[in-house]
Structure formats: C-alpha cells, structure tokens
C-alpha cells in the first residue's frame, strides 16, 4: 500500500491485488466489537448508569449505520480502479476518519476476541488455530491503519 497522490478532496493509494483482497476481508469483518467499554472505572452513581446505557445504545446504532454506509461506499464504481499490476484505491478526505474508526474497530475487536492479552508477543505463542484468524485480522487492520496515517509523518 502506497500513497500515490493527495488532493483537497481525496487520497489515492496503490494497492497490490493481494492487499486489496486482504483489505476487503478486514472491512468485511466490521463490526467486530460488540460492546462499548465501561464509561467509568470509579463512578457508580445513577447518573453514570444512565450515561453507560446511552453510550451502549449510541455505539450500537453507530456500528449498524456505519456497516450500511461501508457497504454502499465499497460498491462505488470509482472505489478501486485497476491500473496495470495494481489497483488505485480512492479515499475521500471526508471519509478518512470514518474509515480509520472502522479499521480500528476490527483491530481492537480482534484483540478482544483473543482475550485482550496484555503481552501480545507472549500470547502469540499460545494461540491455536482458532485464534489465528483474529491475530491475522488484528495485524492486517494495523497495517492498513498505518498506511492511512503514514502521510501524516511528513506533515
């Protein structure tokens, strides 16, 4: 994945066919997170109970809406355009944050599915086949996330 050009409207990335396949797998998994985190570690008041309920509802609705938006977004004929031995992937600037949220949901959600291990290196040694998919998804999501953020390093 490589940034080809950036304009005021969009960024265009070159992705190899294998990268495109992996990207579609990652996006196809969204949403992986099924629950929001606790809104507070120490607050136990009635007010924060209501706030937790609101957060849960808002996040759940948001994921459903974003899944529908993602399906529409992926179907756009201009989304992926074959150019020689690679594809050009168009990401409108006003969809960038939205896309980062989607990809990080897959990354963090896969980590939660792995049991939220503190030490990823150590935990990798214990993963069986069942967990390999989550680990791969987590790594792939991180790769695309880094690719989307890479151009910021030069800002």
């Amino acid at each position: 994945m490589k940034l080809l050009r950036a304009t005021e409207q969009e960024r265009v990335y070159a992705v190899r066919p294998s990268e495109l396949q992996m990207l579609l797998v990652v996006l196809g998994c969204y949403p992986v997170l099924t629950r929001s985190r606790a809104i507070s570690k120490s607050g136990d008041s009635e007010q924060l109970g209501d706030a937790q309920k609101l957060l849960d509802e808002a996040m759940s609705e948001r994921r459903q809406t974003m899944r529908q938006e993602l399906d529409t977004w992926l179907k756009s004929p201009e989304r992926f355009h074959q150019a020689g031995n690679h594809f050009e992937w168009r990401v409108e600037n006003d969809h960038r944050e939205w896309l980062l949220q989607i990809i990080n949901d897959v990354r963090v959600g896969s980590w939660v599915e792995l049991g939220s291990p503190d030490d990823l290196d150590a935990a990798q040694q214990q993963f069986g086949e069942e967990s390999a998919r989550h680990l791969a998804l987590m790594e792939l999501a991180g790769m695309f996330q880094s690719g989307l953020l890479l151009d910021e390093l030069n800002d």
Binding site: L33, S36, R37, A38, I39, S40, K41, S42, G43, S45, Q47, L48, A51, L54, L55, A58, M59, R62, E97, L100, Q101, N104, D105, R107, V108, G109, W111, S116, P117, D118, D119, L120, M138, G142, Q145, S146, L149, E152, L153, D155
Partner: protein, 102 residues
C-alpha cells in the same frame, strides 16, 4: 453667581447575561485515556488531534503519557461535555472513561 445645574450623567450599569451552562455548575469529570497494547501510538496521537483539535505536539505528549504511565488525563469538563468526549474517543475504539473529579 448661581451654580449652573448641569445634568448629572451617571454611568450606565448593565447586567451581563449569565451564560453558565449546566456543565459550569455541575461537578467536574476527568476524561482519561488508558493504555492498552493494541492501539497504535500514531493512531492515538491522531485521534487526540481530531477530537480535541490539539496541535500535534500536545497530542503526542498525552499519547506518550498514556503509553509510559498507563493513563493520561485529557480534559476536565462538566458531565455533558465529558460524556461527549468519551463517546468520541470510544468511537475510535480508544479506552477512554470519565471519572468524577473529587
């Protein structure tokens, strides 16, 4: 010589409109971001810049605090604004909470 009675002009006393919102009067909440091994450092810094409109340097300072100390207090706000920030940060899948500032 009689004194000339000039009109006395008193300064106008105006009362400023009160603009306190519920948040100004309510107890404060600390919006805290907690460390985890999964969110990438560059991503966390990016999210702080987006959510709080912070410059890159300030965002990176808080990101490093999360990474090195386990947490960073991002802002202190009234309940509504703190709740809003936690919603924003959790939309990015960061581990953010609001804690009463006692």
């Amino acid at each position: 010589m009689p004194a000339v009675n000039e009109p006395l002009v008193l300064p106008e006393i105006t009362r400023e409109e009160q603009t306190d919102t519920r948040d100004d009067l309510a107890p404060g909440y600390l919006v805290i971001c907690w460390n985890d091994p999964v969110n990438l450092m560059q991503y966390v810094s990016h999210v702080f810049q987006q959510v709080f409109r912070w410059p890159k340097e300030k965002a990176e300072k808080h990101m490093l605090e999360v990474h090195e100390k386990g947490k960073s207090v991002l802002v202190r706000e009234g309940m509504e604004k703190a709740e809003h920030h936690v919603h924003q940060l959790q939309s990015y899948s960061l581990h953010a909470t609001m804690e009463p500032d006692r």
